[in-house]
Symmetry: C3
Subunit: 266 residues, 3 copies
Amino acid sequence: MNAVEVLRRLAEEKPLVHHITNYVTVNLVANVTLCTGALPVMAHSAEEMEEMEGLASALVLNIGTLDSRQIEAMLLAGKTANERDIPIVLDPVGAGATTLRTRTAERLLSELRVAAVCGNAGEIATLAGLSAEVRGVESLTGDAREAATQAARALGVTVAATGPTDYVSDGERLLAVENGHLLMGRVVGSGCASTAAVGCFAAAGGADPETVAAALAYFGRAGEVAAGKADGPGTFEPRFLDALAALADDPAGVEGSTQIKELKRG
Amino acid sequence: MNAVEVLRRLAEEKPLVHHITNYVTVNLVANVTLCTGALPVMAHSAEEMEEMEGLASALVLNIGTLDSRQIEAMLLAGKTANERDIPIVLDPVGAGATTLRTRTAERLLSELRVAAVCGNAGEIATLAGLSAEVRGVESLTGDAREAATQAARALGVTVAATGPTDYVSDGERLLAVENGHLLMGRVVGSGCASTAAVGCFAAAGGADPETVAAALAYFGRAGEVAAGKADGPGTFEPRFLDALAALADDPAGVEGSTQIKELKRG
Amino acid sequence: MNAVEVLRRLAEEKPLVHHITNYVTVNLVANVTLCTGALPVMAHSAEEMEEMEGLASALVLNIGTLDSRQIEAMLLAGKTANERDIPIVLDPVGAGATTLRTRTAERLLSELRVAAVCGNAGEIATLAGLSAEVRGVESLTGDAREAATQAARALGVTVAATGPTDYVSDGERLLAVENGHLLMGRVVGSGCASTAAVGCFAAAGGADPETVAAALAYFGRAGEVAAGKADGPGTFEPRFLDALAALADDPAGVEGSTQIKELKRG
């Protein structure tokens, strides 16, 4: 589905998107979800995972500040999501940096039926079994294009490797998204936030490469608009939320401004 | 007490307001507390609950991201607050959405002497035993006016059901607060933040319906000021904190701009 | 090292700074780290402490929302930091307010080799064994200058007592930093954020009094720049991040604007 279609559907349905996410960027992630047109809920308590998931239209798992209780909650919520057949979007933050993160991402991918994985080039390369350098939660090296295709093939899911150009693949198709702005890399959580946008789009339009690329194009387009009004990374963030909301309110504004290229047809 | 009186007292006394709250909106809640003139402290460790509460002038309990350890901390802090006779303000975030949240709100209300409950129409209706639809943490239906009165009667506390119009009742009196702006509903945490303002006002002026309504009017008035300077939900939030601080610094600015109507006298 | 030298080195090396910190100000702390030129990572899980620390160039411990699992993580990460000889910077948030906080700060200082301690006057006075009044996490009284010198002597580390004037001492030398703006005290987390800046500077330049004072001067200078563009505490925060990033991008802008006085030579 393209961005305009998804945004219209989001405005109409206001689906609940459940995030089990890190405490660093959780506020930004929630605001991005709300600005995009979905209703965010952040909940991590094992006691309410099944029930909360019963209300949700998508589940976003972000391992940015992982601990054992959170892993348990992710598995519980994920199982309910799978039973209800709602899409799970995984952001493997810091996979490749520590064993805990790499193993947890792998475990979630093995025990749950994940619909899409979104991460930076290093994280995605790690999951594809390619070599990569991840310093903390930042990717320092890695061929995003190759990583996306290889990981999608290895994992059998849609994979987005985000960066200056985002690459989205299901192992067959490969899409490149050119929207975005350098300032986005200077704000903590822009990766988490782009995964949240993918989660919202998945709630309304599924997680095929076209819809995932549309989410990233919408997200990147908002970044371009915001960068034109910001004086630095600090003023960028509020402007970015404004831009996301404005595009969601008037999806026609997205039309013609998305830069998605089909590099390889499936 | 009216808003001007409370804000003057806050500026003079700088009371400590202790929040046990969710990690999604905690930063906004703390900044709202500080801008309103109180000193915020966020602490949740069982080991320091009694001691921290011994320093506080109000306790705000927000169940937005609940887990078992947090419930224990809320009960410990609440008991000390009751012993010291300082007001407890409860925000039953997501009551009605999951059993954990509904039961925990009920448990806190049964085991502690709560002074005021602030929530959206659906959450308050749930606590009043009325039917309501709560999707995650958003209220989708519910008659806020009826919910506030019924819940206040059922629980024997001051209740605020917030929304486009806020209704405040102690079961006898019913006040309506018309201040506010639509943009507030597009920012994650404006509900939590309004409860924080009620907590600050309670620290200085108690939790009778007049003081709770004054807090919501002050809060809503800041929203009106901020909306005039914002381009969307992103730029709204910093403008909103500016407006809260400006009104707290010069409480005379609140006078004449609060729109509180007494719908029913006690 | 002076601020210009450190900022140039940070831009070149992009060191990883690991924070174990509170969930109230964690987003601001991460953004300050990124704007200053380092890569932030927030992680607290015991399972990944050694590994994450193996990648880091500095460790910042902030006890603002302490619990037992976090203390365990701090000790684990700290031991690895000590083995690898990377600097540990401690922010004893709320020391003096509750026994848990005072004892934990003391325990960290006794079990780990800490390079620098940064806190407000009341917190630092508490660690120096002087009398002080700390309400929650705010210092109400305390002679920052005396506290810094006494604490540095008692603890054998570099100590910064921050406030309208920041004092930095290693027990022998005493430096005063006059940069800053009153608005900084009206934003939640400016203390945590200044400690984060010290952590970044320590990653590139160590934790001697000159480098710590340089970090605080850089931080305060950004506050001055931001205050000139802000309408209140809300708009101050994004402007502040802009200013930090602009000074980090062009360190020459810091030169000539830092106000550091040597009050006592070692």
